[in-house]
């Protein structure tokens, strides 16, 4: 039973994390190759505060605020640079984070931070809380997608210049997307730290950023149910199949490539293509 509880918790954290990236990359169309950085900021904040004696629940808002602040700063960068340049900049932020954390003894350096105190909720309590947070983030995503803000995000993703012409304050909405997405990533990071009781700089490196991006892409960029299913599947597959565990990166990389090559819309795109062949055919013509 413990194993299943741990697995479900892992899944909930991964889904929260993937949904947070979906806000930025899926809704608002800003490619981020350094999203694990913000999970890392949240995780380190929670771990350090936890060691300083803070209760687990009190570390959550701080993790969110710190990650969100850094996210807003990176969001400022997205106002300066676009598309390919932004992808490389966010990748740079990721390497910078790992590089800085590794060299600071105060942050555990190469060894990372172990002996993070217990959250005091019990295994089941922690899992339930993680699931509640995950469901809340999913609900928030759906709400945002349907709101005025979600439509603006979509417009920015489709054609930023037209949105500017329409009088939309594009920078404000981009910053909002970055701040929200990264704050939620920080939240997932706090859970991550308390779940594993250990964090290191490498836990939030480029590979993790790519992993979470592959979850979003695999599910279908922008689709909330697609991303939830993809993140849930991809986060537990390595644990279920030891073979996949050993070849985790090969499978991830291969899936990412094949998905982009044959169905750039992800699983959502596949489902739509088979479920509604006629409408999609018409869509192609128009």
């Amino acid at each position: 039973m413990n194993y299943e509880i741990s697995l479900l918790t892992t899944m909930a954290i991964a889904v929260t994390f993937a949904l947070s990236l979906n806000l930025i990359t899926g809704f608002c169309g800003q490619i981020s190759l350094g999203h694990a950085t913000f999970q890392g900021v949240g995780a380190y904040a929670a771990a350090m505060l936890g060691q300083a004696g803070w209760p687990f629940l009190a570390t959550l808002p701080v993790s969110m605020i710190l990650a969100g602040l850094l996210g807003a700063i990176v969001g400022l960068a997205s106002l300066r640079v676009r598309a390919d340049f932004l992808a490389i900049t966010t990748m740079g932020v990721g390497f910078l984070f790992v590089g800085i954390v590794r060299q600071q003894d105060a942050l555990g350096g190469e060894l990372g931070i172990s002996s993070i105190p217990d959250h005091g909720l019990g295994r089941v309590g922690f899992m339930v809380l993680a699931l509640i947070v995950c469901a809340a983030v999913a609900a928030l995503s759906v709400y945002i997608k349907r709101s005025w803000m979600g439509r603006v995000f979509n417009g920015i993703a489709e054609d930023e210049d037209t949105m500017r012409v329409l009088g939309i304050d594009v920078p404000r909405y981009k910053l909002a997307a970055f701040a929200m997405g990264t704050a939620l990533a920080g939240l997932s990071g706090a859970f991550y730290a308390y779940h594993l009781n250990f964090i290191g700089a490498e836990s939030f490196g480029f590979v993790e950023s790519i992993t979470v991006l592959s979850m979003v892409v695999f599910g279908g960029i922008g689709s909330v149910p697609g991303v939830i299913i993809a993140a849930a599947l991809l986060s537990v597959l390595p644990a279920w199949f030891q073979v996949i565990g050993d070849y985790k990166l090969l499978v991830y990389g291969g899936l990412l490539f094949l998905m982009m090559r044959f169905s750039p819309g992800g699983m959502t795109g596949l489902v739509n293509r088979f479920a509604r062949p006629k409408t999609s055919a018409q869509g192609n013509q128009s």
Partner: protein, 287 residues
């Protein structure tokens, strides 16, 4: 004296970066794709170089065969992976490329083993003193020299030959070039071949300098080469060259003076981010 030595070390590293980044720039200029998987061909070159060199005992043969194999690999990669994605939005090709790169790193690990391979009898390790009393490995000097020669020859080919001019025309206006009878497909193949061959060539040199090839030896050059072509102003060949050498020198100074604060990769990317915030179009772009 230290400063002079650091500059020299930086230029050696910068030459390697230049060889890898040039291929990326060629691809970006032509197709507007950030070709992350380029570094897989760099690693492939390293492996082929070591295998051929150990089997035949000739480094020159290893370099040539590695460049050819990597070049062919590049063309195959283009045909299978990128050509069908040209009509998609750019992030599709970028993500596909990252997937391809990660998968090929793992494939190298599975095929050649995780520990890596080395030369049984590494060539060109003798120390050479040049003016000012600096000591270099012969291999280090040859890296710089061969990079300079190759880039010079390529620049000449591009400016003076029919094929080179066709490439330039395709970069500036593909439609127009095509209507003047230039085969886009052929130009793209040639660009991928040349760029990937350079990466394979660089892979052998790096394998020789470290006397080691590992499955992950491509990851750092890969991401750093992306930083370099962005710094150079995406698609600009002279800009890329300058950025590669500059970054090599900055890193060698940075590891000495900022090493306690940041590691080597972080220095490169800190520099990249700082530059992009001031000049979003890159250091050497003319726009």
């Amino acid at each position: 004296m230290l400063a002079f030595e650091l500059v020299a070390q930086g230029l050696i590293q910068g030459s390697i970066y230049a060889l890898v980044a040039l291929g990326l720039t060629l691809v970006y200029g032509l197709l507007r794709i950030l070709h992350v998987a380029h570094a897989a061909l760099f690693t492939l070159g390293g492996y082929v170089g070591v295998l051929v060199c150990n089997a035949s005992g000739s480094l020159a043969l290893g370099l040539i065969i590695a460049a050819m194999v990597a070049g062919l690999g590049g063309v195959i990669m283009f045909r299978l992976a990128y050509q069908p994605l040209l009509r998609q939005p750019p992030y599709v090709a970028l993500i596909a490329s990252i997937g391809l790169f990660i998968a090929s790193e793992e494939a190298f690990r599975i095929i050649f083993g995780a520990q890596g391979m080395s030369f049984t009898n590494p060539a060109l390790q003798q120390q050479v003193a040049i003016l000012g009393g600096l000591q270099f490995k012969l291999a280090e000097l040859l890296v710089m020299l061969s990079t300079a020669v190759i880039i010079g020859v390529l620049a000449w080919l591009q400016a003076r030959t029919r094929v080179g001019i066709a490439c330039q025309a395709t970069v500036s206006d593909p439609q127009m070039a095509e209507s003047f009878g230039i085969s886009l497909r052929r130009v793209r193949d040639i660009n991928f071949f040349v760029g990937s061959a350079l990466a394979g060539f660089a892979g052998v040199w790096v394998a020789l300098l470290n006397n080691l090839v590992e499955p992950t030896m491509g990851s750092v050059p890969s991401y750093k080469a992306l930083a370099i072509i962005v710094l150079g102003g995406l698609g600009s060949v002279p800009g890329t060259l300058a950025a590669a050498l500059l970054l090599g020198v900055i890193e060698s100074f940075g590891t000495i003076y900022l090493g306690a604060l940041l590691d080597r990769n972080a220095i490169a990317f800190a520099f990249l981010i700082a530059v992009l915030m001031v000049r979003p179009q890159g250091l050497f772009a003319r726009r």
